[in-house]
């Protein structure tokens, strides 16, 4: 990362690019001609990731519902039995705490749900972390942001491409 800021011009470009990207973010259109485009890994998505989180019925006492789908890039076919790892800063623990981490498997229609403690704002935003890293498809780390910290659900869609 340090190579990104070796010169002032580079730094200015980076800052300008960040501001520009933030401004243009709302205008982007998903690719459609070549079928369903794969979900790119988000910046900061892998932060405080712990590999190999156990598959659990729920994380902690629950109360907040993380839902999502996992589909294949291109034809959009649902992918059953895929392992998705989830972690967040919640009312019961920090992102780094092992007990804040858990994994679940998608059902026959490629859907997953995880009952987990309420996500609370941390590092400036109420956000969750999700990972697909089982190897059959390319690894994806997501960092979705809640539209309101009072939300009690968060929905996340994965589109994976073969590794």
């Amino acid at each position: 990362m340090s190579s990104l800021i070796q010169t002032r011009r580079r730094l200015l470009g980076l800052v300008g690019g960040t501001v520009g990207a933030a401004a243009l973010g709302g205008l982007s259109v998903p690719a459609s001609a070549a079928g369903l485009a794969p979900t790119p890994t988000m910046r900061g998505g892998a932060n405080n990731y712990r590999p190999g989180a156990p598959v659990v019925d729920r994380i902690g006492g629950g109360g907040f519902l993380m839902t999502g789908t996992v589909r294949r890039a291109g034809d959009g076919a649902p992918l059953p039995g895929q392992r998705i790892q989830i972690w967040a800063h919640t009312t019961e623990g920090h992102e780094r705490d092992p007990e804040s981490h858990g994994a679940t498997l998608t059902d026959d229609e490629g859907r997953f749900t995880m009952d987990m403690p309420q996500i609370v704002p941390a590092f400036g935003q109420a956000h969750g972390h999700l990972a697909y890293d089982s190897g059959d498809f390319q690894t994806v780390f997501l960092r979705p942001v809640m539209s309101s910290p009072r939300d009690t659900t968060l929905h996340v869609d994965f589109v994976l491409q073969p590794a």
Binding site: M1, S2, L4, I5, L11, L14, V15, T18, V19, A22, M42, R43, G44, A46, N47, N48, H89, T90, T91, H94, E95, R96, V120, P121, A122, F123, G124, Q125, A126, R143, P149
Partner: protein, 210 residues
């Protein structure tokens, strides 16, 4: 506090003004800190994270004191005393920012490393890190001011644009964060900071171009 009455007896109005000005400053700084201290988010944070967050709020508060000292707006602090206080507050500001970054680094190393590398997903991280570097550069320049033999005019030309950028970036940083600060007290503190900084910069500029 009694130094200003050393030469001539303090009038009643002047005494009232003094209490009013200092009282107003205490309230303006205490309210955002008090609101943040009552934030429900604190219940779900460990001490190091709370320290990191509050160091940032204290930094924003110290930033407001700086232009007030430069303006001589705080009764009892003028001339050399105000300059010394401006210098001391500058040191405190650097310390608050260092503590802010260090404590947040301990809280979540990858998030702080992303921010410092300008690779964070959040715009406020970028603004905050830019403000940090500018404050550190301003502090370093202030320490080297004599050795570099910077003329007052030269110093102004470096210090004032830096101040404007630091205030703008810091307010942007604070306002974009969903944190312990209350929304309205954060906006009020930010508004006062911008107003005080711009007034101080305006007053520091020479009347005619030199």
């Amino acid at each position: 506090m009694w130094t200003s009455s050393f030469n001539r007896p303090e009038t009643r109005a002047a005494r009232h003004r003094k209490w009013l000005a200092w009282g107003a400053l205490v309230i303006v700084l205490a309210v955002p800190l008090g609101v943040a201290a009552a934030s429900p988010l604190l219940a779900w944070r460990q001490p190091i994270y709370i320290i990191g967050g509050f160091a940032g709020i204290v930094g924003l508060c110290l930033m407001l004191v700086q232009p007030l000292l430069a303006l001589g707006a705080l009764p009892g602090l003028s001339g050399a005393t105000a300059r010394r206080a401006h210098r001391v507050t500058g040191h405190a500001l650097v310390a608050a920012i260092v503590l802010h970054v260090a404590a947040l680094w301990i809280t979540s190393p990858p998030d702080m490393l992303d921010a410092l590398a300008f690779a964070a997903p959040t715009l406020f991280s970028t603004l905050g890190v830019m403000a940090m570097w500018l404050v550190l550069a301003t502090g370093a320049l202030a320490l080297l001011r004599k050795r570099l033999r910077l003329s007052p005019r030269r110093w102004r030309r470096l210090h004032l644009p830096a101040v404007v950028a630091i205030v703008g970036l810091s307010v942007g940083h604070a306002v974009l964060i969903q944190g312990t600060m209350g929304w309205w007290s954060k906006l009020a503190l930010s508004g006062l900071l911008i107003a005080a900084a711009l007034t101080a910069v305006w007053r520091s500029l020479p009347r005619s171009p030199r």
